[in-house]
Symmetry: C3
Subunit: 443 residues, 3 copies
């Protein structure tokens, strides 16, 4: 700043002393540096804010999952959700970032840029030419993203998975599976070349996580007492306020998740995305409310909350190419889908503690396809449908197969489910030695 100020004074001095046009030429290059730095700083501030917002989504997921699951397993869930971003960020540092953005020579299916971060030559470089942010911002933003894919699995498999199995799965899924799939589109790989469009990850993040969750609950089986004589037995969550905090924090974080996916602070583009994102969240809530009332004949608050998430997941693939009006439709449909998806899963005795498969997989697929239905590029042309279907299929098959394989091998090798006694008595007392809540008033 002091340098800038000196230049300002210099300029005034030159003007006062009757500078020539040639002096102006010299000043122009000073100015160029300041102007470019100002724009770059503004863009990077937005991207750092987006990073911070995506980070807080991990607290959001923790809240939703701990709030919607039983009090005897609260600590176990929070333990998983705290270690998930830890593992996610570290694996992304060690291997993920360079798997996802390997610098394909030609668009392909696999490439690897080497272990660890590729520290720019000049250390704290501001000259990272890839876009509106620095190398470091890029890494951290993408690392926060990566960890969300595993978090999605966490909620579905809660209350009966062995903690060691979950952590091993997370290590492999976030460290290897997620970044390789991501590279196909965001790293400039084969899906990108095929015309597949996924703005912020309805498929690459959410459905990938959702497929992982589905593989997990198939191999784990339902919780004891969940399906009895053809009936679905509710397992009341410990705290609806905690789940509500989680949902609001997820909506908050989505402003960074989608808004940051513009990869700069470009005013029109980013703010447009925030609007479509919010509108879809709103109609998602209404969709969940209406469908929930239709199915359960009550004002089902859980379905309103999951409806918000459904709308958000749904708009994520096309938040920048779908109009505000169609965003309302995308969200509404997602909110309705999430209810019927949850009911359908229960019919197949697929026990998903928090509705993660319905929210992230069902609505992730819907949102990706919606890009091929409602999406319009900047020149006003409709985006094609078939590449969307292709991308959904390719990513889905890969994510599900990989997750199934990991869980299957873990199951054969060590078992992935806790003992019946531990499940009934709760994971907190057995694995962690403390209770989630201890509310007493007498010594």
């Amino acid at each position: 700043m002091q340098v800038i100020m000196e230049k300002l004074f210099l300029s005034e001095f030159l003007m006062a002393s009757g500078e020539s046009a040639l002096d102006a030429t010299a000043k122009v290059d000073d100015l160029m540096a300041i102007s470019v730095e100002g724009l770059f700083t503004a863009n990077n501030v937005w991207m750092m804010l987006a990073t911070v917002l995506v980070f807080i989504m991990h607290l959001g997921f923790a809240g939703v999952e701990a709030g919607f699951s039983q009090s005897k397993n609260t600590v176990n869930i929070l333990f998983k959700n705290t270690l998930t971003p830890v593992i996610g960020i570290l694996t992304y540092y060690i291997i993920g970032f360079n798997l996802m953005y390997p610098g394909f020579e030609v668009p392909g299916w696999f490439s690897f840029g080497g272990f660890f971060l590729d520290v720019p030559l000049n250390g704290n470089s501001t000259e990272y030419a890839s876009g509106g942010y620095t190398y470091w911002t890029d890494f951290l933003f993408q690392a926060m993203f990566a960890a969300t894919a595993a978090t999605i699995v966490s909620g579905a498999v809660a209350e009966r998975i062995k903690i060691s199995s979950y952590l091993t799965f997370t290590l492999l899924f976030v460290g290897i599976v997620y970044p390789i799939i991501g590279s196909w589109k965001w790293g400039g790989g084969a899906l990108d070349a095929a015309g597949f469009y996924d703005f912020a990850g309805s498929t690459l993040v959410h459905s990938v996580g959702g497929w992982g969750a589905l593989a997990g609950i198939i191999l784990l089986g339902p919780r004891i007492g969940k399906y009895v004589n053809g009936k679905v037995i509710d397992k009341p969550g410990s705290s609806v306020p905690l789940a509500t905090i989680g949902i609001f924090l997820l909506w908050l974080g989505w402003f960074g998740f989608n808004g940051g996916s513009v990869l700069s602070g470009k005013p029109g583009a980013v703010s447009y995305v925030l609007v479509t994102t919010s509108l879809a969240a709103c109609t998602g809530a209404l969709g969940g409310l209406f469908a929930g009332y239709f199915v359960f004949k009550r004002l089902d608050f859980g379905m309103v909350l999951n409806g918000v998430l459904a709308g958000l997941v749904g708009i994520t693939a096309g938040a920048d190419v779908i109009s505000p009006g169609w965003a309302l439709v995308v969200g509404l449909v997602a909110g309705i889908l999430v209810v019927f998806s949850a009911v359908t899963l229960d019919k197949f005795k697929l026990d998903d503690c928090v509705g993660a498969v319905s929210v992230h997989l069902t609505c992730g697929v819907w949102g990706t396809l919606a890009v091929g239905i409602f999406g319009v590029d900047t020149t006003g042309n409709a985006l094609p449908f078939l590449p969307q279907l292709f991308g959904v299929a390719v990513c889905g098959i890969t994510a599900f197969t990989s997750a199934f394989l990991i869980f299957f091998l873990l199951k054969k090798a060590f078992g992935i489910r806790v003992s019946e006694q531990h499940e009934l008595e709760g994971l907190d007392s057995h694995e962690h030695g403390i209770r989630g809540y201890t509310i007493v008033y007498d010594e």
Copy 2:
């Protein structure tokens, strides 16, 4: 960014090849575009951050209201507070934005700019010339604001209002009443022409919401068992930590509520507002603490928390025109007022579950009048008092009458209060079929 980089290289190339002064002229226009984009981006990033912060106030309100009300009604309150921003954003999209900023031909009392958003011709426009943000940022920031007016009502009428009545009221109050009143000042209407000053909404948002709340609790009547034999019976809230989370999130959000009302990221103006806002919140807490101790003879934590809000509401009308020193006074008085207002309401058997009328109406009026007492414009002249009184009266009469009418008609048509049995047993089990908290450790 790539374009910018190319220009930077071009500049260096020109310099190296001995450019003339005329080349500099051409570069100047390149530079202008970058400079303007940099400043615009920075301003818009701040406004998007402010939008995000105002959004999280809805979680703040949810926390305060669910924390301060009884555990048997927790889900019902969270349900209302989740749907309030949903309804608020959607109605603002459909009708509110164009009611509030209709583009008055001459300053008046009513004009309407048409349904839905007025999408800029070039789609993702960055050329929204009204200020330091885009059209989309403008809409979303104002939409987040709109929904707060209804949320204020939600807390006061909790624990006995019919959910259908509340949602219908919200639809009309946020969709129509709030934006019309807002248009009188912020839309360039008649109150603006009359010299009324309300920086960020002590009157236009908070007292409008507070008047709505007052109308609601008059027509609803107090909760069963609240006033017995001339005594006020405490109804302990479910969770003080939840209420505290709410208050901190509201303070956090207020940085966006007031800071964003500068309508750009102008460094001096915005940061000045953040300072006056924080100072008033602090002395508000002390005012609530001292007055609470004076009245109740205990360290009343509820009054400290409401004192924070009182200070924030109080400084909102004049955060940019009141000095830091006077901001301390505005906050302190607000913190004291909120306690005596709450006691007074109880004397009249006006049962406000969370103190919303005292916080938002009483302190909203105080803050608006304080502008006419302590406020100084940029040229150092005191702001006049009478237009403040006029604005308070006009908005108050309109807001109260409208809200009273809506609630009255709903009462006549469908009833606005739940049955005695539902109220006693709690709204959660009857309307939503789940409990707010289920903390058990044995299967």
Copy 3:
């Protein structure tokens, strides 16, 4: 913005009418103003965001402390944690800011710039030439910092300290002790001249708070029933989810705490700091997990959470001068240290309710020394070790002695500990008249 737009049109007009090179000269100075304002606005937006993030750390501390302490004292803890930033901001306004940044004539140990804020001549000045932010942003950012030092003490002394003693201590510690110590480095005082390096306050904030906490628990003595027959008796906290919310909010806030300590939005420098900060938090969690398992033979979630904080405190002194790779080591060691520190304190019957001394003092010292081991300045030279040791010693002796003296005098004058009956029955019912949680379902 309108001014800018007019200039843009002017420029186009001039070009169209065949402007001369001299016209370009005039435009260059217009441009300079816009460019400088753009960069300044972007920098200041980041600093305001950092301020907002540090603010929310106070909710983080409140969550950790209320979550980790017994339910009978929940309101008391929240009361303290709400008043701590209130007192912190107000004392910093009255005296602290000018004690900490007094404008030393020569580097020294004490100077005072006068009471209250030194309002810039032009009021809402944007010309605050000290760096990438305004005078007001500077004050508020530093004020939010100041209050954290006292908050650290709050957690350690919880559950048995008299509220009046705590508030008096906070007033003196934050108002006088903290800013004087801070002035030695950040105010350009004697430690700065001695080559001591502390980027964001491992010593100046965290260990200062930690020393205060240590003094407090020595003079208070342990809680009744904490150490019985040579055994350490667990006192289960009220809510692990609340503590988890607290930890995540602290991590979130640390992006502002460390990221804002760059004192501008400089893209490379800030984003680098966010990366080292996050990596250390992650390995801190692992260090706590491993050491906790080694010591307690269980997956101790409390140690994972405190490990996150330990990593964050550890990297704070050198977040800008330590490489990402070494940041992993700094965090891991901090996470291990926090466990053994906690065990050691218990051996000496030093009862720290939330592990504040272990987190902030032990890891604050470690982090400061780590700068002298792993730190490298911008020219690639290793930072010296001895000034780090000197700074740790000088600040430690001063902070501990001052805190001890304040608590000692308060103890002699009024007593600092509540009665045995109040401690056993809980502070909430005796001092505040309400419970922290009231979860019932029958009227």
